[in-house]
């Protein structure tokens, strides 16, 4: 049989591709690689899939071996997660049955009542999720705004000791969080920042700042100075030029930095565990503590993790087109 080098491809090549990449061998290898990647992706997705189905399983379905793939979905997990409940006493059972029959109960109350429970109020998790939103959101905005201003200064001005300062900013990231938690814990107790929103916002902002300064500096370095110079001779001040010209062009970098900062602040576990107890406790440590208190409500834990994923997924999805360029920053020009 004639070799590929003698006959060439069977069909005319109508794409841009190197000769060594269209031989039958290369094509087979490419297919194998694609399959391997797919398999890897599936393996990585399994825990997320398990979490997803567990969140909608009833208590019985969760513990049934072997694990069921087909089951009647229920919102039980979410009810357990989001509410505090008490057992309905025998004396009030009739009253509850009457309300259920009259259709006066909302979805959550009905689900709780099916398990013989009444809802007494929202659970701690609701407040903790809110804490997470406040702390992660505010610290992200703060670190992106501060990072943008300092990145601009580092990029455009002759800051004395620029290299040392940039290294110092980066060095705050070099110690693992665990190493600094205890000193920070002691410091925070003295400063009365322990278990406060402002303390956590401050901490996450500082931690993200090194990242945002470096990332944004890369983006701003890529914006030619001529644009600002053009704005200057067009009659604008430096500050106006920054807002009208630099800012719109740094949008990609700002979006990418925002997502990365948000993911860090949202996922952070070690500091939150050590430095918060009640008022400012965020969602990640509280999901973990559910494992300890009372019986294991697997569906509630899964529902908690799922709910915790959603905000990040939404933001990442919304900013995905910037994110790809952000990850490859410096390498790909628009």
């Amino acid at each position: 049989m004639a070799s590929f080098e003698e006959t060439g491809p069977r069909r005319p090549v109508i794409e841009s591709i190197r000769v060594d990449r269209i031989s039958p061998g290369a094509r087979t290898w490419r297919t194998i690689r694609a399959l391997l990647s797919l398999a890897l992706a599936l393996i990585i997705l399994i825990p997320i899939f398990v979490m997803l189905i567990t969140a909608f399983k009833s208590r019985v379905d969760i513990t049934t071996p072997p694990p069921k793939l087909i089951f009647t979905p229920t919102l039980e997990g979410f009810v357990f997660l989001l509410t505090d409940r008490a057992i309905v006493t025998a004396g009030r059972l009739a009253e509850f049955q009457e309300r259920a029959a009259a259709g006066e109960m909302n979805l959550f109350e009905r689900i709780a009542f099916e398990g013989g429970l009444e809802i007494t109020g929202p659970s701690d998790y609701v407040f903790r999720l809110r804490n997470s939103l406040i702390i992660a959101g505010t610290s992200t905005i703060a670190s992106v705004v501060l990072g943008l201003l300092s990145a601009y200064a580092f990029s455009r001005f002759n800051v004395p000791g620029k290299g040392d300062l940039l290294f110092f900013i980066l060095s705050t990231r070099m110690l693992p969080a665990v190493v600094v938690t205890i000193p920070i814990f002691l410091m925070y107790r003295q400063l009365r920042l322990h278990d406060t929103h402002i303390g956590m916002i401050f901490l996450y902002t500082v931690f993200n700042l090194s990242f945002s300064v470096w990332l944004l500096k890369g983006f701003i370095d890529e914006i030619p100075r001529e644009y600002e110079e053009a704005a200057l001779v067009d009659g604008y001040t430096r500050l106006q030029a920054f807002f009208k010209i630099v800012l719109p062009q740094a949008v990609t970098g700002i979006a990418a930095t925002t997502v990365f900062c948000l993911i860090f602040a949202w996922n952070e576990y070690a500091f939150a565990l050590m430095l918060t107890s009640q008022r400012a406790r965020t969602a990640p440590p509280s999901i973990a503590t559910m494992l300890g208190s009372g019986g294991l409500e697997w569906s509630a834990i899964a529902a908690g993790s799922l709910g915790f994923l959603i905000p990040v997924v939404i933001i990442t999805f919304a900013l995905r087109k910037y994110l790809l360029r952000g990850v490859t920053f410096g390498a790909i020009r628009q």
Partner: protein, 363 residues
């Protein structure tokens, strides 16, 4: 519109002396080209006039007003950048209107002015488009419109055609010249392309190594270069410069050639060099007239066809190659012997020690 005056303006970047103290007066409505190789200080000079660069010493006067330390936005000058510097997130129209909004021009008036300028530069159909989708020539038209729109005191252009394709460059050259005349503008134009400088400038300022080498009209810098640098830099190829020895009323050149010095040059040579001494003979390629009985002999080293004419590379002897223009019809095989004369009014002499041109008195 404006006069621009530089008085002893200089610039240092640390230990690098980018522009040595220079004096330059640019008259109202004049088109002045700063010409020189890269790194000669021409762009730095332009940026100092605009205020995008500070001066290390000296004063800059705009219409007699000292603007040395005035913010760029308050100098009322427009700057056209090599890579256009159009704001990529704004449409052509928004780009052009941008400087007017800075001045607080009322919207209706600004819009009217933008459409006038767009008509003048024939870019009205591009107003809704962003710079990214425009061709290089159109981008530069929009950049010119942005510079033109607020009728500044002066236009400063930093190699505005450098990033364009050759055919666009020709068109835009005419466009800029037209704009300059229609606006009665004062224009300072930086380029390293001497053909562009010759074609556009009322006067050319030739710079090299941070120093002005010569200021003059295109004809002056072409026919009467002040020194060897200008002679080599202007023209393509530059002026032929041949080392020789002046003695007995003739210049002895390599290859046993003797060039009898024209009568009108003798006093100048004798005053500068004395009875005998080294001299550099300079002549443009078109000053060499091929002639069977010519005074100078050489061998054809190579020849290039340029369409309208042929350019011969002639070897006088050893390493001394000179260029000569020849009629296009005749073939000059490599190695052929030719003879030529020099047009007497196009011969120049330079002092090899000072590199300066010998002064020539017109009688």
């Amino acid at each position: 519109m404006a006069t621009i005056e530089l008085r002893q303006v200089e610039k240092k970047f640390g230990s690098l002396h980018a522009v040595k103290p220079m004096d330059l007066t640019i008259n109202d409505r004049e088109f002045v080209v700063l010409l020189g190789p890269s790194g000669c200080g021409k762009t730095t000079t332009l940026r100092m006039i605009s205020g995008l660069e500070t001066v290390t010493g000296g004063r800059i006067l705009l219409n007699g007003r000292d603007v040395t330390w005035v913010h760029p936005s308050r100098r009322d000058i427009a700057f056209v950048f090599q890579f256009f510097a159009l704001y990529p997130h704004l449409t052509s129209k928004e780009n052009i209107i941008f400087p007017l909004l800075a001045q607080g021009t009322p919207r209706a008036e600004a819009e009217k002015r933008v459409s006038e300028v767009a008509d003048f530069l024939r870019i009205s159909h591009l107003m809704g488009l962003r710079p990214g989708v425009l061709s290089g020539g159109d981008q530069q038209r929009v950049a010119l419109a942005r510079a033109l729109v607020r009728r500044p005191e002066a236009f400063l252009m930093d190699e505005p055609l450098g990033a364009l394709d050759a055919d666009f460059r020709e068109t835009m050259r005419a466009e800029i010249k037209r704009l300059h005349i229609a606006e009665d503008a004062t224009t300072v134009y930086v380029t390293h392309d001497q053909i562009e400088a010759m074609a556009m400038g009322d006067r050319i300022v030739v710079m090299s190594e941070a120093v002005i080498q010569q200021i003059g009209t295109p004809a002056e810098v072409y026919y009467n270069p002040a020194n060897l640098f200008v002679a080599r830099f202007i023209g393509s190829p530059g002026m032929n410069l041949v080392n020789g020895r002046f003695a007995d009323g003739a210049v002895h050149l390599p290859g046993n050639n003797h060039y009898p010095v024209p009568q009108e040059w003798l006093p100048a040579l004798q005053r500068a060099i004395g009875r005998e001494g080294d001299v550099i003979l300079g002549f443009r390629p078109e000053a060499a007239i091929l002639n069977e009985n010519g005074a100078l002999a050489a061998e054809v080293y190579a020849s290039d066809m340029h369409g309208a004419y042929a350019m011969l590379h002639l070897n006088l002897n050893g390493d001394q190659i000179v260029h000569a223009r020849a009629a296009r019809g005749i073939r000059y095989p490599i190695g052929a012997s030719v003879r030529f004369d020099l047009a007497p009014d196009m011969v120049r002499f330079f002092d090899p020690r000072t590199e300066a041109a010998l002064p020539w008195e017109v009688r």
